[in-house]
Symmetry: C2
Subunit: 459 residues, 2 copies
Amino acid sequence: MNASEFRRRGKEMVDYVADYLEGIEGRPVYPDVEPGYLRPLIPTAAPQEPEAFEDIINDIEKIIMPGVTHWHSPYFFAYFPTASSYPAMLADMLCGAIGCIGFSWAASPACTELETVMMDWLGKMLQLPEAFLAGKAGEGGGVIQGSASEATLVALLAARTKVIRQLQAQSPELTQAAIMEKLVAYSSDQAHSSVERAGLIGGVKLKAIPSDGKFAMRASALQEALEQDKAAGLIPFFVVATLGTTSCCSFDNLLEVGPISELRVTHLSSKCTGKKEDMWLHIDAAYAGSAFICPEFRHLLNGVEFADSFNFNPHKWLLVNFDCSAMWVKKRTDLTGAFKLDPVYLKHSHQDSGLITDYRHWQIPLGRRFRSLKMWFVFRMYGVKGLQAYIRKGSNQLNEALLQRINSAKKIHLVPCHLRDKIVLRFAVCARTVESAHVQFAWEHIKELAGDVLRVEKE
Amino acid sequence: MNASEFRRRGKEMVDYVADYLEGIEGRPVYPDVEPGYLRPLIPTAAPQEPEAFEDIINDIEKIIMPGVTHWHSPYFFAYFPTASSYPAMLADMLCGAIGCIGFSWAASPACTELETVMMDWLGKMLQLPEAFLAGKAGEGGGVIQGSASEATLVALLAARTKVIRQLQAQSPELTQAAIMEKLVAYSSDQAHSSVERAGLIGGVKLKAIPSDGKFAMRASALQEALEQDKAAGLIPFFVVATLGTTSCCSFDNLLEVGPISELRVTHLSSKCTGKKEDMWLHIDAAYAGSAFICPEFRHLLNGVEFADSFNFNPHKWLLVNFDCSAMWVKKRTDLTGAFKLDPVYLKHSHQDSGLITDYRHWQIPLGRRFRSLKMWFVFRMYGVKGLQAYIRKGSNQLNEALLQRINSAKKIHLVPCHLRDKIVLRFAVCARTVESAHVQFAWEHIKELAGDVLRVEKE
């Protein structure tokens, strides 16, 4: 396929993509196939001679689509959302064309620098503490990981290296294995399975702290485990706090847990209080983190100032297509110190200048795509206000319109209230004679009118 | 941006991509920028209001392209090749539109099943032993990793889990840490830095075996290290053999190293020979592996039958855009057993049927894109013959044309020979009076004519 055929086929593919997304509501959200459905539909080996593009395109509807679970169908409510927007798709086309492997600054300066700046933009949207931003000469900064699993693993490995070096500096006779045997990491019993997996991969114990009645990790339960483990000679070194758990979107109590685990103040303050623990605090906000760009949700992130690393997934809920998992650290040397290997074939003249970022030291793989283009396109084409509106989705205007319809229809009667900036429709059960059937009737009626309001909004 | 604007902008982007790749030869391959060039060109924070698409597109040439190292320029000879083809780009557009996160079979059956079948297709192209193929009910199979670094790490972690379980089964009193302290992995001193990094992440020792005069790892050197380490009470458990090293594309001697490290025959044969070691053999052919699809290069892979896992990067040299790192194992349970965690929110009804593959157990991240679409498009649009021709690039016809030009020009005289299927131009130094200057003259003349032949071929 040469450039001129690509021009033709590429435009056909753009239309196919737009048709697919415009018509996705009409496709069954979950495929009706049994395991092994695909193999009999496909030859047992690759063709020797080239095939025509038409044949491949026709097979998409025949072979692929019947087996696709449509994550972007409005009827898809499983697992978690994954972001999809047209600007991100356009950026990904450009990313594919440039096709650079940005493992170091020199491997494509624009790839590294746009990522650093975009992570600063996003950090500012979240009002992250200054220490997490790269700025011109900051010690911290952000990196795009492929997934929150990798972010957690990278944080755990950096913390492991750090504690091993600290303890060996104090007691040079200690072997790495002797230390690792005693290391313990902690997370809520509601934490994502990838946290347990990071412990398995890192070869350290991970303890699940029982969450409270609201499925939140609290200081008291964590402190209890810490005391027990220290009494048993173990070495606590790493805590993951989850903001927005997978099962029920509960939030660990960061304002309680943060001060316990803050690492950097330990040596200063432990003498005074005896309470600080020498632990790395990682915050996993993969699922809920996008909401923090709205000022009214930002308080849920309070306590982030105690963390060493923070992660959330714009590829879940911020319109940046997978993969784009945003991770920040306060001290970039904690990551680069844990992983840095510098074979001569990857060296370049600027790398020791202190001016540049080589992202290969921040992540598990070596290679990396130009993923910040997606962020750039999305942030600019939506603007912060557009992104906030997407997170909020509903608006006061919609609620007002619904109330107006309800009261015009005169089948039921409601009055609204204001809760801070929100217009809320109050449904008070008032008359002595109200039965369950009346409430059911009212609810069906409200649902019908709400559907009308949303249809009008969409048109 | 709605679907209709995407149709328009998407088609403009297709043209931009085609223009970029058609004109890439005219761009400076390495950017003329200093570290920090980009930040002053970009606002310090994301815009509050949406911007126009034109503004973003214009900024690509103003801000991004001046900082791009053009990996697909024909003047790019740094690092290693990274694949780029139009069919793969079309497939990636479709992948972005479907946007599924295929961590389990149920999360999108087509995503999992096409990957399994494509890895079988590719395995057959390489003539991999049957044990590496999934087939309908095989114990082995392939998976697409993001990078060879991840493949090596996954193999090392699986081997680590396996040996720890084996030793604990024999001696239940042994702790994981006590075993890990003694584990040693091996690779050539020419192995890629990601192998050393996998050792660091996995918390095990990695020893570099001195390579021979051809930069190859040989059995004798490996055996020597093994004897020393075993005498010191260490436990060898993992060997990486490299086929095509990064620095000079040297090949470890697989036919020597393979039999030493074959794992599965150990318990059967160690009684007889006392020579087999209980080690996992991983083959890293990231760089050179694509060549094995040509029968004339396949012998370089001989010995793969001794390996537990094998990896190479179609995203380097097989026209499948990054990321697509192909990894096969003989026993899938070695991987899934090392990583399997099954939280209820990821369970599905088919998972215990034994019929399905949940790729999340085969890799470090949880999420994964529909990357097999790229393989499917590329394999079908090129055909095996087209891919082989791309690896070979030159052809007998080109050599014949060059010879004809040389002998027509009559400034020098050559005769050809056949080496098996290849037409080779023999350059024999014949006359008593030949000086270095004559050879230099001949070489310049041949280069000029060869350039003419290639220009004609291109037009």
